[in-house]
């Protein structure tokens, strides 16, 4: 687009036009510098990732200088990592944990935001702040009593126990997003129309309001889905068997110690395997990932 503009300018060699081509040249130079700057920053930002990718493609025993990028292409490290982290079952565990948590969060956070956004009273403002306050509390702090409580309530310590914490920790931010969007984005008139047609409160919410807040639902699924997928902390607390570990937890075993020094190439292959599912999802759903982050930012 900008190229065309420059072209049309030089096509009209009036005196004013000549002066403009000179500043146009300066502009071009500035643009080139800018381009270089951006590329430089990006390269600095991504060097670690490129090196990780290159090293993961070496055989486990290759301890050559990792800066000789892509000097060997072998899948041996991947094979080793794949087996040691039980990739198949870890992937499945991640999918189940994240899937169940996100579905429940979407349902109960959307429901909770409905009265908070619609009723104007001290109670609803209190509920709003009550949920919002949870944002600042670190999960590690709540963990001491939680471990005790879960034992006390006789909730069995299974691989699904972390789901309880995932749901709870996701509520503050999700409620915040939903409330903001219902307030500003769902006109009351639609609901009044449904009310006059005799729709019950339940029906009104699920078939009128809920479809209208789909953009926030996408945002909640993305933001909460990514952190739950990546979480190792609650998983580490409640899951002890390797066969029950989701991906990030399966990573923990790769750091070496004095007796077994870290096999970096295998570790890097494990890193790539661990990040791969989200990267694939991101490459297909980029628009939603980047948009999802900003729904709250622009509306809230």
């Amino acid at each position: 687009m900008s190229k065309q503009a420059a072209f049309s300018k030089s096509a009209a060699p009036t005196p004013a036009g000549r002066a403009e081509t000179r500043t146009g040249g300066l502009k071009l130079l500035r643009k080139a510098l800018m381009q270089l700057l951006v590329a430089g920053v990006m390269i600095l930002n991504l060097i670690p990732l490129v090196i990780v990718l290159s090293a993961s493609l070496r055989s486990p025993a290759n301890n050559g200088n990792p800066l000789n990028l892509f000097s060997e292409i072998s899948l041996a490290s991947y094979q080793s990592a794949f087996e040691r982290m039980h990739f198949g079952s870890a992937l499945w565990n991640s999918i189940v944990l994240t899937g169940v948590s996100v579905v429940v969060v979407v349902i109960i956070a959307a429901m909770a935001s409905y009265p908070i956004a619609r009723i104007q009273s001290r109670w609803s403002s209190f509920l709003y702040l009550f949920f919002l306050a949870g944002l600042v509390i670190p999960g590690q702090m709540v963990l001491i009593p939680i471990v005790q409580m879960i034992n006390g309530l006789n909730i069995p310590n299974t691989q699904y126990t972390p789901i309880l914490m995932f749901i709870t920790c996701s509520l503050p931010f999700s409620t915040f997003l939903y409330t903001g969007f219902i307030r500003s984005g769902v006109p009351i008139e639609v609901e009044e129309a449904a009310h006059i047609d005799g729709a019950s409160l339940m029906r009104r919410f699920w078939s009128v309001v809920f479809p209208l807040i789909l953009p926030v639902t996408v945002s909640v699924i993305i933001t909460q889905g990514v952190w739950i997928w990546n979480d190792y902390f609650f998983n580490m607390t409640f899951i002890s068997r390797a066969s029950q570990s989701p991906l990030p937890l399966a990573m923990l075993g790769f750091m070496g110690d004095q007796q077994n020094p870290t096999q970096w190439n295998v570790l890097f292959a494990a890193c790539v395997l661990c990040a791969l599912p989200l990267l694939v999802a991101f490459s297909f759903l980029q628009k939603y990932f980047m948009g999802g982050m900003t729904v709250g930012a622009v509306k809230g």
């Binding site: 687009m1 909770a112 590690q140 009593p145």
Partner: protein
């Protein structure tokens, strides 16, 4: 409006979420207050009430002051540096640059990684001798004998803060970019016609209109910084010495490796108040600024 269409029965909609929230988030916090005045050790079912002695121990020991200091430093640096870099990147990528869509996508990639993966990658980057930075420096001929980012008392904290910034920069940038795109072009054009220079234009037009994004980004990074746990846990174990002990990491270590649940709970209670007070002050100050801007 509250009348016939918006019935009070709507409040029932909030029940399931409230149930989860109260049982697994609010109730544990009250329990934390209770444990903080006991000698509870985490596994024995019986414990004694010991009054305020946990608090007294904390206030006379060095852990509390040290972890508060580290946490505040972590928060301050990650808020200031993270937002400056994020804003800079957003301004760059808001220009008419070839491949900006591609650049936006790739700077978002690190935000998709688990903290575990990021911690491992950066442990390698920082490794003395054969790590990435050491190798790069050796390649260009800079001596690297005393280079130990994570192993030296003075640099470990800043090294892990940098990792935190690297991981979150994509989100900060995207939020700034979204803000930049809401600024109408005619406003900037009008400023230019009035003869405002680049800096004046940025200071008096762009920045005030970015107020919402700035508030959100700063709030998010303050909350994030005060809760800092991942990288001390994965990369340094709070060390060397106590140089990377943040509040949350200290609580964790006290409770789960030293088995001092009572004392850890007391530290939790203190952290709870520190975090709440700082967040409230920050949010209130920024709201005031945003209105006046």
């Amino acid at each position: 409006m509250n009348s016939t269409v918006m019935k009070k029965t709507m409040y029932f909609f909030a029940l399931p979420a409230l149930l989860f929230y109260c049982v697994f988030w609010i109730f544990p916090i009250f329990k934390l207050f209770q444990y903080s005045i006991t000698d509870y050790n985490g596994y024995a079912q019986s414990f004694n009430y010991v009054g305020l002695s946990n608090y007294k121990e904390l206030f006379s020991g060095s852990t509390l002051g040290n972890s508060i200091g580290n946490t505040l430093m972590y928060t301050l640096v990650s808020v200031v540096v993270g937002n400056l870099i994020g804003l800079g990147l957003a301004l760059l990528l808001n220009q008419n640059i070839r491949g900006k869509g591609f650049y936006r996508s790739i700077s978002y990639i690190p935000t998709l990684f688990s903290a575990i993966v990021v911690g491992f990658i950066w442990s390698y980057v920082y490794m003395p001798d054969s790590g990435m930075i050491a190798s790069l420096l050796r390649m260009v001929g800079i001596p690297i004998d005393n280079l130990n980012f994570l192993g030296s008392y003075s640099s470990a904290l800043y090294s892990i803060i940098f990792v935190e910034i690297w991981k979150n920069i994509g989100i900060t940038m995207i939020i700034f970019l979204a803000g930049l795109q809401t600024i109408p072009n005619d406003l900037l054009e009008a400023g230019r016609i009035d003869g405002a220079g680049k800096w004046k234009l940025f200071r008096n037009v762009t920045l005030p209109l970015l107020a919402t994004s700035v508030t959100i980004n700063i709030t998010l990074s303050i909350i994030n910084g005060l809760k800092a746990f991942d990288f001390p846990f994965i990369m340094t174990n709070g060390g060397p010495g106590d140089s990377t002990n943040t509040l949350v990491y200290s609580i964790y270590k006290m409770a789960f490796t030293e088995q001092l649940f009572g004392k850890a709970s007391a530290l939790g209670v203190i952290s709870f108040f520190i975090i709440i007070v700082i967040t409230i002050i920050a949010v209130l100050t920024m709201n005031k600024k945003e209105v006046s801007a």
